[in-house]
């Protein structure tokens, strides 16, 4: 499913939706990168609230964007991850990176 974007000052919020696998990840990746090029973005928020499935492809999506945002001196926020998405992102150590913060899922 399509990623939905909105811009809040210099922060881009990317709301991912549906199932994230290696097939879907290619599209998500390029959609986000297009937005990053289009606007003057400093920070990025990934919103996982509407994600129904994710495998390790999600790690690459997050880490790849993290590197770009850090190069700009910005920060990354992971929002709304459910326990399984969280578990996978945690394995990659992404929550321990400088400039990467988690916002808990609303229950």
């Amino acid at each position: 499913m399509d990623t939905i974007f909105y811009l809040q000052d210099d922060t881009l919020v990317a709301t991912l939706a549906g199932e994230i696998d290696h097939h879907a990840a290619d599209r998500i990746r390029s959609d986000i990168d297009d937005e990053l090029l289009l606007y003057d973005v400093k920070n990025l928020i990934f919103d996982f609230s509407d994600v129904t499935f994710m495998d390790s492809s999600g790690i690459g999506v997050v880490l790849g964007r993290y590197k770009k945002i850090r190069a700009l001196g910005g920060t990354v926020v992971i929002r709304g991850a459910d326990s399984l998405v969280r578990q996978i992102l945690e394995m990659s150590g992404v929550f321990m990176l400088d400039g990467c913060r988690e916002e808990k899922r609303k229950e």
Partner: protein, 146 residues
Amino acid sequence: MEKNVVNIEFEARPENQSFARSVAAAYISVADPTVEELTEVKTAVSEAVSNAIIHGYQRKGEGRIAMELKFTDRDRVYIRVTDWGCGISDVEKARQPMYSTGEDMEMSGMGFTVMESFSDKVLVESEPGVGTSVTLIKCLDTYYDL
């Protein structure tokens, strides 16, 4: 529920990643798994199948993938994913967290790690030039809940 062997063969197309995990989910559904177990099995299968598509057949979109599913016990499911692609020369290295030959494509090298944390056992047999077989074994708690 013991046995109930299913054999399935499909093409190494990217869209079949989601088909393969739906098949695995439908297969274990008869054993009344928890939502979490269902997601764990789907995730592990997704990793094994996408590895076959992306690494085994190098994203060419061609080649066959076989999946064998069976219950080796009424609460223990066995899923074996086989490809006849390029194979892995050093399996031990490949299984290490963060090791990936696809870093340029933003592969995280966490596929095997995810399979291992979401299954009870992961067996890998591979031969360069011949192909790879990944077996996922998962115990469902279903029957202990009773």
